[in-house]
Amino acid sequence: MSTTTQNDVNFYQAKKGIMSWVYTIDHKRIGIMYLIASSLALFAGGAFALMIRAQLATPGGMLPMTPEYKDTYNMWFTLHGVIMVFLFIIPAIPAALGNFILPLMVGAKDVAFPKMNLASFYLYVIGAAIALYGIVGGESPLTTGWTFYLPYSKETAGAVITMTFAAFVLGFSSIFTGINFIVTIHKLRAPGMSWYKMPLLLWALYATSILQVLATPVLGITLLLLIAERTLQVGIFDPALGGDPVLFQHFFWFYSHPAVYIMILPGMGIISEVISCFSRKVIFGYKAIANSSIAIAVISFLVWGHHMFLSGQSVYAGLVFSFLTFLVAIPSAIKVFNWVATLHRGSITFETPMCYALSFLFLFTIGGLTGLPLATLSTDIVLHDTYYVVAHFHYVMFGGTVIAFFSGLHFYWPKMVGKMYNETVGKIACIIVFIGFNVTFFSQFFLGYTGMPRRYFTYDSSNELWSQMHGFSSIGAFILGFGVLILFANLIASLFSDRKAPNNPWGATTMDWETQSPPVLENFSEDVPVMKKAPYEYE
């Protein structure tokens, strides 16, 4: 444990006033602003999730059973999806945590293009503002689901154009972050840090950025064509005009399936850091983990068709996509095996970040394995568009990405704000989140397996299993929400405490921990910091 005293002025104190934030090009401040913004989005998306679960707690629900209220429910799950995907989960780890940590990890003073980094944040804010306008600006509610499938998204009166334009702007924000990270990793690594000496979080962020740069523009043109479809009636996706709605699905998932890996890859990077650190052991299979990140990035571009097994896509295409989907499971499994092997005979301690990392291992494995029946053509016919799918991707997205985000948030919190949070409360929050999550989503596997379709605002009250499982799921959702509230309350409370964080509270070995907590304005005290030892060299 480092006990260095903190003499130098940190980056918060270096410049003062609101304008020092508005015009900042410091990656640390931009990271903090992204963290605040995406956490707000998490709460907004979470509020919609709780409303969905409250509605489904009983077959009667809390909304009156009339057609207009069905639209209200449809709007809730649409906005839950749109907000969580575009405003929270895609920017949360790369743009918030990654922005703060990546330059520290490579030993640089900033990302390669600091002004573009700020532009990325402002585009995020503008995109969020447009989305907000779409929600409260008086247009009819958006009820398309976050996937905007045609022809419904062309016929509906909802705020489709506003929302797709918001997603288009947010795409630019994501591309800017991606370009910045790739160039920073290529060109600004500290002397001594060769590719295979990079911490694994950098490999993960690098693979993520490749996906952001290559996939996001395709979403851009897809959404533009959808806007043109609604305004100019171009007909490319409209069957009434000779176009093809399945082509829209191809385009959409060509982005949105890699986007799933944009979400999970940085989470995997954090887990590599945390597990190695709290096992006090060199990570097992460094190269395998590093290369599997790149393998995931490459293969994930070739699996989009598994979303369309039942959309009228050719059966032979389905076979190929099914095979490729099994293939992309391999690099993910390689990582899980290596993390478990790292734990083996390590000196494990259970600090809060590690508790989340271990939850991740458990939940992500369930999420990954339950994906395989969906990749299998025959079983997918039964499970398609049921709660089984909902449960599966929440195990990956929440049980994987969001839990990894919480792990990283607790891991890097002392570095980011210079204060230690309360360990005991942190662990209690972790346990509540873990329990709440499993109660919410494990029950949904049973719902889906017995045929409960997703996106319905009520269900058959004579089906006893459904009533029980929906009840369970709703109770779990509120437990989960409560856990997340404690988590954030604990972190925010630490800001007002006097528990100053040492420079390296966890005894980690990567370069980011050599900086002061919080870091000084240009990160390192020396002008050109040199990488002194390989990552994960624990005694």
């Binding site: 390669a112 293009f113 600091p114 370009i179 897809t222 100019l232 007909g235 490319i236 000779g242 240009e522």
Partner: protein, 219 residues
């Protein structure tokens, strides 16, 4: 192409605080620009895929649609854009050789070419609109045409309009570097913005070189 930065002559005010030298900054900018160009390729890639899909389904429609385009206008525009790409490339060379006046003249000539392209495109669009050739459901052409021909023109207008938007952005960027060239900000050791805008302009040119045969010369 290796950079022409001579570290003995470089003036520090052009190197941002987080780079150790001008070389590193130049190389970073170039990599960043190439990544950005990659995103542009992927963006247009979506339109090209739509083109391939619909052309495979309706080959006759595409031939009939292409016949309604004036290949001579397209050819003129192709020549204009290729010329402008050459003058852009030479302009960068002139900046590297510290010949400010010639660089500025070439940059402005490039702008002129780009505007010429827009003028030709304007006449083409206008002619189509007069005939009632609009995208999609607004297609109201009275002459000989196939039943799905509005789809060909949906793709034609989406592709060329997106391209025109890129031409306009490119022109604004060239004007910006021309202005900075006129102020004498670029010389042999610092010309990164000119080179980056040049790369962008070549991309705009390259996409047109694909669009022209695909849309005009289908037979």
């Amino acid at each position: 192409m290796s950079s022409k930065v001579d570290t003995n002559k470089f003036i520090p005010r052009f190197v941002s605080h987080h780079f150790s030298n001008a070389d590193q900054e130049f190389e970073s900018c170039k990599l960043g620009m190439w990544l950005f160009l990659l995103t542009e390729f992927m963006l247009f890639g979506g339109i090209f895929v739509a083109y391939v899909v619909f052309r495979t389904w309706y080959p006759e429609t595409f031939e009939s649609g292409a016949e309604k385009l004036d290949w001579k206008m397209g050819a003129v525009n192709t020549v204009i854009l290729i010329t402008s790409s050459v003058t852009m490339a030479v302009a960068i060379r002139e900046v590297q050789l510290n010949r400010k006046g010639r660089a500025l003249a070439l940059l402005l000539f490039t702008v002129l070419c780009g505007m010429g392209f827009l003028v030709v495109k304007y006449f083409e669009y206008n002619h189509k609109f007069e005939l009632g050739i609009f995208p999609g459901d607004f297609f109201s052409f009275m002459g000989d045409h196939m039943s799905n021909e509005h789809l060909y023109f949906s793709i034609y207008f989406m592709a060329t309009a997106t391209h025109v938007l890129h031409v306009i952005l490119g022109l604004l960027a060239i004007l910006w570097v021309s202005w900075r060239t006129a102020k004498g900000e670029f010389y042999e050791a610092y010309y990164t913005p000119v080179e980056m805008v040049g790369l962008y302009w070549h991309l705009v040119d390259l996409i047109w070189i694909f669009l022209f045969p695909l849309l005009y010369l289908t037979k």
